[in-house]
């Protein structure tokens, strides 16, 4: 049951990424196609999650589903 429950830390990380990086730092979301840069952002977030100091296997496992 808990497997499908989003974890607070990951939601916080994504929310922070979308708010700070996407909206405020030039990575604007194209309202006509929000998925336009999905692959790029996916890679950035994956890299953020996997940097050694932040490595958290729960987060990594959850992000990849």
């Amino acid at each position: 049951m808990d497997k499908c429950k989003p974890k607070g830390d990951l939601e916080k990380l994504l929310s922070s990424f979308v708010d700070n990086e996407v909206r405020n730092n030039g990575f604007s979301i194209n309202p006509e196609n929000p998925m336009e840069r999905f692959d790029e952002w996916y890679s950035i977030i994956r890299a953020l999650i996997m940097v050694p100091d932040l490595k958290n296997y729960d987060l990594v496992g959850e992000f990849f589903v």
Binding site: K3, C4, K5, P6, P31, P34, M35, F38, D39, F63
Partner: protein
């Protein structure tokens, strides 16, 4: 992956009225276990909650699989789907491509992942589903009713 999609579409989903959103529920959601325990299935719980919020009952669909969705989503501005990882990946790819099976996708999507695939005895985190169903425009959420 799913949380990133939900984040990217959250504003558009928030700005779509409850009546214009479609909800897609899998037939397998907690039904077998509910039958054995003679309790309400999660499908019924989600339906009841959505209707109580103002969702159109005619736009709440129980489907046998993701392939049934394209024929039903015509005219919907946004959709919320409860799905297994297989269907979720198919819809992430479809949203990247802009269409599925030649059909244009609704303008916004939110997905809630089932705990397993296999179309039997699946469960979803209802708190997360109710939170996504309840999303309203930020200015409404931030306004204080006195």
């Amino acid at each position: 992956m799913i949380l990133l999609v939900n984040s990217l579409y959250e504003d558009k989903f928030r700005n779509t009225s409850f009546q214009d959103r479609a909800v897609f529920l899998p037939h397998c959601l907690g039904i077998d276990i509910a039958r054995n325990k003679k309790s309400k299935s999660q499908v019924d719980s989600v339906k009841e909650f959505a209707v109580s919020k103002g969702y159109d009952p005619d736009k709440i669909f129980v489907v046998g699989g993701g392939s049934e969705i394209p024929s039903l989503m015509d005219g919907c501005s946004a959709m919320l789907g409860l799905c297994c990882i297989t269907d979720a990946k198919a819809y992430v790819d479809a949203y990247k491509a802009g269409e599925i099976d030649g059909c244009r996708l609704p303008g916004a999507v939110q997905m809630c992942l089932l705990d397993r695939k296999g179309c039997k005895d699946t469960f979803v985190n209802l708190d997360y589903v109710f939170e996504r169903l309840s999303l309203v425009p930020r200015f409404v959420e931030n306004s204080v009713v006195k």
